[in-house]
């Protein structure tokens, strides 16, 4: 076995097996902290051994066995008697053992625990990236521009709370499931969005590592809950957004708006997969949730050969449907952008201006106004709106785009 081959096998095993190993150890030892540490040690051992000894025939089983041994070593080291551990486990997880052949829901349990509503949103994000995606603490800290020690503390505190307050390690009951799944999807969407529109001066405008992790985790949940429409919707939305990734930032690091993007640079395979998911949800005949509607809007955009060929009335109709589910001003703002294409910038501007009291601190509100004012020939007002948008925008590519548009005003 070549060293490169072993390395590749470890990367692959990390992607495929990390969450499974952590989940199985959490189940056995009833302790996320032990599971996390032992899983990390098992992978470190693989890095040491596999290049010399070769990749074991079943990497997952090897990693689980090794991690189990590491966990038991740690428990012995800490001089905890095994029966005490068993007692803790029994209390922590009182479900009957699963019958052989039942679907593997270990990773689902893990996801629901990490995304528990009793944890702060930022904590859920960090914990999910650590426990389920297997990112290291320094990686997560870097992704969210937080000091490593602060991130370490956040994760440590979360694990302590899960244990002390006994946040259960299980899939929620059918009655609570829809709400809890939407909580999980909110975490994944946040990870994706942070990757897609990274904030912070000096940061890359798009954090591919984060969008890729979010897609990978959503694919995992989709595999575990194939019947859930919103899971499919979120995955489709992410794929259709990711498909436009390369066309969205120019070589000089400037954001390229949808109407100026080179549609030939879109990823056709991701678009095809996204469209397939959207069609699958349409065929299901179940009233769609917000992610499914957002995915459908994205599907309309990605179906058009160019911006003029876009079916704007369909986009507006979908935003109307979305607004009925979620009457948020941000949705009203996006609807107005589509209205501008359908009914002209004047109608759209009137709709946007009605949002001032809630969106005055949001850069996209000012960017939208600036564009509509520009199209109406009101350069002075447009310039002021661009200034405000630039002042509020946190993404480097977006700032560059807005600055150019402002400077092009006559």
């Amino acid at each position: 076995m070549s060293v490169a081959g072993a390395k590749e096998a470890i990367t692959q095993a990390h992607h495929e097996e990390w969450a499974r190993v952590v989940a199985s150890l959490t189940r056995r030892f009833g302790d996320l902290d032990i599971a996390e540490e032992a899983a990390a040690e098992a992978f470190a051992t693989a890095v040491d051994r596999w290049p010399a000894d070769g990749v074991p025939p079943s990497p997952g089983a090897w990693l689980t066995t090794t991690a189990n041994r590491k966990a038991i070593d740690r428990i012995r080291r800490e001089n905890k008697r095994n029966d005490k551990q068993m007692e803790a486990r029994r209390l922590y997880d009182d479900d009957p053992p699963e019958p052989a052949g039942a679907i593997d829901d270990g990773r689902l349990r893990l996801i629901f625990t990490c995304c528990h509503p009793a944890l702060a949103m930022q904590t859920r994000v960090a914990l999910t990236l650590r426990m389920v995606a297997g990112l290291t603490v320094p990686e997560i800290a870097r992704a969210f521009l937080v000091q490593e020690t602060a991130m370490e503390q956040r994760i440590t505190r979360a694990k302590a709370k899960i244990k002390a307050a006994r946040i259960p390690y299980r899939v929620p009951s059918a009655e609570d499931l829809p709400e809890r799944v939407s909580g999980v999807l909110a975490v994944l969407f946040l990870v994706f969005n942070e990757g897609y529109l990274a904030t912070g001066p000096g940061s890359d405008p798009i954090r591919h590592d984060l969008t890729a992790e979010a897609i990978r985790l959503t694919r995992l949940i989709r595999a575990l809950m194939p019947e859930d429409g919103e899971v499919a919707g979120l995955l489709a939305l992410m794929l259709l957004t990711e498909a436009r990734r390369d066309a969205r930032v120019s070589a000089s690091g400037e954001l390229v708006a949808l109407d100026e993007q080179d549609r030939g640079a879109w990823d056709a395979a991701l678009i095809a997969e996204g469209h397939r998911l959207v069609r699958e949800r349409l065929a299901a005949g179940v009233a769609p949730g917000r992610y499914q509607i957002l995915a459908a809007i994205s599907a309309v955009h990605t179906s058009a050969r160019d911006v003029r060929a876009t079916d704007w009335s369909q986009v507006v109709a979908l935003y109307d449907q979305l607004a009925r589910l979620d009457p948020s001003p941000i949705i009203a703002l996006n609807r107005a952008i589509a209205v501008a294409e359908l009914d002209g910038p004047e109608v759209a501007l009137a709709a946007v201006d009605r949002l001032e009291h809630t969106l005055a601190g949001y850069h996209a509100y000012h960017a939208t106004r600036a564009d509509l004012l520009r199209r109406l020939g009101r350069s002075q007002n447009s310039r002021a709106a661009y200034d405000k948008a630039i002042e509020l925008a946190g993404n480097t590519a977006e700032t560059a785009y807005l600055t150019r548009r402002r400077d092009q005003l006559g």
Partner: protein, 107 residues
């Protein structure tokens, strides 16, 4: 597993008769379903006395240890298998007493 479920008051008002009736119904349910350990309402914070006997002699101070707009007005101690169950009960408790509630596990 036991949880301390604290009722937080942010006005001077005590429970109205309607709230009291809803609390009684909720307490009855806690007992019937086996979650009940103990519960009680508290007099106003101004009736508290703080005692510190770590030094040579016991020191008595009139008033609560912390003056704040929000204060503890009552509590339940519930027996629940995990936080999900405790949070659900607490949500119903909050509705019944019409107040904000904090859930905290015992060690």
């Amino acid at each position: 597993m036991q949880y301390l479920v604290s009722v937080i008051n942010d006005t001077a008002a005590l429970a109205t008769p309607d709230e009291q009736a809803a609390i009684d119904v909720f307490n009855g349910r806690l007992k019937a379903e086996g979650y009940w350990v103990f519960a009680g309402g508290l007099a106003a914070p101004s009736s508290a006395t703080v005692i510190d006997n770590r030094g040579e002699e016991a020191l008595f101070t009139d008033g609560p240890f912390l003056e704040s707009k929000e204060y503890l007005i009552g509590f339940w101690i519930m027996e629940a298998p995990d936080l999900d169950v405790a949070l659900k009960l607490a949500a119903d408790g909050s509705k019944a007493c019409n107040r904000k509630i904090e859930v905290r596990p015992f060690l």
